[in-house]
Subunit: 266 residues, 2 copies
């Protein structure tokens, strides 16, 4: 009922960005979040559980992971609390291989809707954008520039588990844009000065797939992306604020696209 | 160049929720945030500034506050850093009276668009909702149940200064709902099971003003609100996620309302 030194060391390492990168995996915890992982078919390398903390719902989840072939190790409540980041442990945590692709591994099929995040450094915003991407049928999410680390605890939590259901890739801006162009995707850049015509941006004439690019709140999108864009789109609002939160802006635009692609009457 | 004991004590107290409540004021800092306060005509009780940290832009802001009649006190860089919450001080911070209304002080004119937040406990979500409310012409924002403290540093920061431009009120759910009804406002509750017909919810036939109610992600709206609602509205999305982030859901609906009220062609 206790972890080996090597295992303790690894779990401790996974609390840091460097440790996650070196080990190529990350720790996720909590019943709801791990249920989402299971629902999306993500099989953990390793599950840790503590019977005194586990609810019935948690026990069912543990069973499902075991049936899917995951190795499960019983640990003490204090051990689980120590290496997890949650304030109150729900008695289950799991280690997953980081499913992070690079540009060349990314198959850009023509009908895809891709979300491109450039310099989205706030973990809450990045996680929320990933959650909205799953909600509005954008997949993959491609990270360019200085984004938050996608498999950090804060991003994973803000994604509400959607991170297990969306392909996440890291890319260089110019390389990705060139590849997207070759695949026939239309590049739509967002910015305050963009047109408000959602039908032109997302209408049925653009069924060839799109890349929607969101930049940082402070600086907007880089010149590389803006210059390469097929069109700029913006969100009309009052002049009482300078701009919208980046996750809000991205989600409103993904929703506008989703409604048009699904022929929903607004 | 140093603060009195009483002033130091007060500024320290403003770092806690209890201290903010007892003093009836809060501290905001940073050039951008305080520029927004000034733009919205909020006059601080007191400005603190440190010349070694202040940019030219910050100095212009300080001048504007002084011209508006605010008392400005020069303090050392270390003092400013100590009582502020920012990682790197921009050399200016200001204390404002908390402009928090209660139900009876709230004038509900018939054409208003009101955002009702129930149990929005995450400060980032509450601040973002306030920002989107300002962007999409919702005012006031009414807080019901166990919401985050609206003038805490995290909420103020997430609002990007919009908190200075929106009336914030705290109310009891049933009292507020009764008052809104008397004022002829239509109560629109949000929830997964709601209709997706935005025209019915926000169309031109509802020009009498509305209250849009957003509940917590975990539990949704209370029965009090749902039972009193004139209609339920929801946001169509894929089944890859269970729900949307509360700030995202609220903002998408406020935007849908804004577009209809401004007769914008979507």
């Amino acid at each position: 009922l206790s972890l080996s030194r090597a295992e303790t060391k690894k779990l401790k390492a996974l609390q840091t960005k460097k440790g996650r990168r070196l080990n190529g995996c990350f720790l996720a915890e909590g019943v709801r979040l791990l249920e989402e992982a299971h629902r999306f078919g993500s099989r953990p390398e390793q599950v840790y559980w503590s019977p005194s903390l586990l609810s019935e719902r948690g026990a069912r989840l543990l069973d499902s992971f075991r049936k899917a072939g995951a190795k499960a190790t019983e640990v003490s409540a204090s051990e689980l609390s120590r290496f997890g980041g949650a304030e109150t442990s729900q008695g289950i945590a799991a280690v997953f291989t980081t499913p992070l692709l690079n540009s060349s591994e990314l198959a850009l099929t023509p009908h895809r809707k891709v979300l491109l995040c450039e310099n989205i450094s706030d973990p809450g915003n990045l996680g929320t954008l990933i959650r909205s991407a799953a909600a509005f049928d954008f997949n993959p999410v491609v990270l360019v520039g200085a984004c938050a680390e996608p498999f950090s605890p804060k991003v994973v939590r803000a994604s509400a588990g959607a991170i297990f259901g969306v392909t996440i890739a890291e890319a260089l801006g110019d390389q990705f844009v060139a590849g997207a162009r070759q695949s026939g995707l239309k590049l739509i850049a967002t910015g305050a000065q963009g047109a408000h015509d959602m039908n032109r941006a997302f209408g049925s004439d653009s069924d060839g797939g799109i890349v929607l690019a969101i930049g940082s709140e402070a600086d907007g999108l880089s010149e590389t992306i803006v210059k390469a864009a097929d069109m700029m789109v913006g969100i009309a609002h009052t002049d009482r604020v300078e701009s919208l939160n980046a996750a809000i802006a991205g989600s409103i635009l993904m929703k506008a696209c989703y409604d048009r692609k699904t022929q929903r009457k607004l």
